[in-house]
């Protein structure tokens, strides 16, 4: 196992989002990220996992979400996997921030915390989202 890798697997029930949030925050913290970064990361990973529940699993609460954290020399990598409905990365767009309506904020919060937010096209079934936050930014 690579040093500084942590993997958490939870059911796709929203009640487990708090578990993922705590792991995200503690992982970032023990690897030296500052408090503001920790809070951004906590929220971003929650948003990404909420979207997995909503869109990949359409609300099914007994599927699997796997989140893998890895501290690299140049930054923090987070990989989120599901085996739900494939996303069309083309439609993933937050709302215009000057528009006032419920929704469309999650993607902005993910992009605020992470420099890279991409779907790994090589995954055959389900989705693999790759997030990366550079240490110097």
């Amino acid at each position: 196992m690579t040093k500084d890798t942590t993997v958490i697997t939870v059911p796709s029930h929203p009640k487990y989002l708090c578990v993922v949030r705590e792991v995200s925050a503690k992982f970032a913290k023990v690897n030296g990220l500052d408090e503001a970064a920790v809070e951004e990361i906590r929220l971003a990973i929650d948003e990404a996992c909420s979207n997995v529940i909503k869109y990949a699993y359409r609300g099914d609460t007994d599927k699997k979400i796997i989140v893998r954290f890895r501290m690299k020399r140049n930054g923090l990598e987070v990989i989120i996997e599901d085996n739900g409905i494939k996303a069309d990365p083309g439609v993933i767009r937050g709302r215009d921030m000057d528009e006032v309506r419920p929704g469309g904020l999650g993607v902005h919060l993910i992009r605020r915390a992470f420099d890279v937010f991409e779907f790994d096209e090589r995954k055959e079934k389900g989705n693999r989202i790759r997030l990366f936050r550079e240490l110097r930014r």
Partner: protein, 109 residues
Amino acid sequence: MKIEISDYNGTKVFGISGDIDMNSSPELRRELLDLVVRKVPVLLVDFKGVSYIDSSGIATFVEGLKGMMPYGGRLKFFGIPQGIREIFSFSKLDRVFEIYPSIEDAFNR
């Protein structure tokens, strides 16, 4: 998350504590829309005990506000912790919601 509903000089107050996330926001939505359909004129929301809010929580308040606008109802927030304040300003919703430092300010203005 827990919601305590109380009364301040005749005005309804939501005292929310804990995490507002995809798991708890449906309950917040029920409580909020329950007052909105009854056309509550003013609702004060005490954020002091809120430890976390995600986009589903924000969306719920946007929905509540949109429900109150047609009849002139007012949704007023107070006691917002710094970390949560930042999410409102990041999402530019601090220009849309009425945000006050204290319950007195929220009530009087």
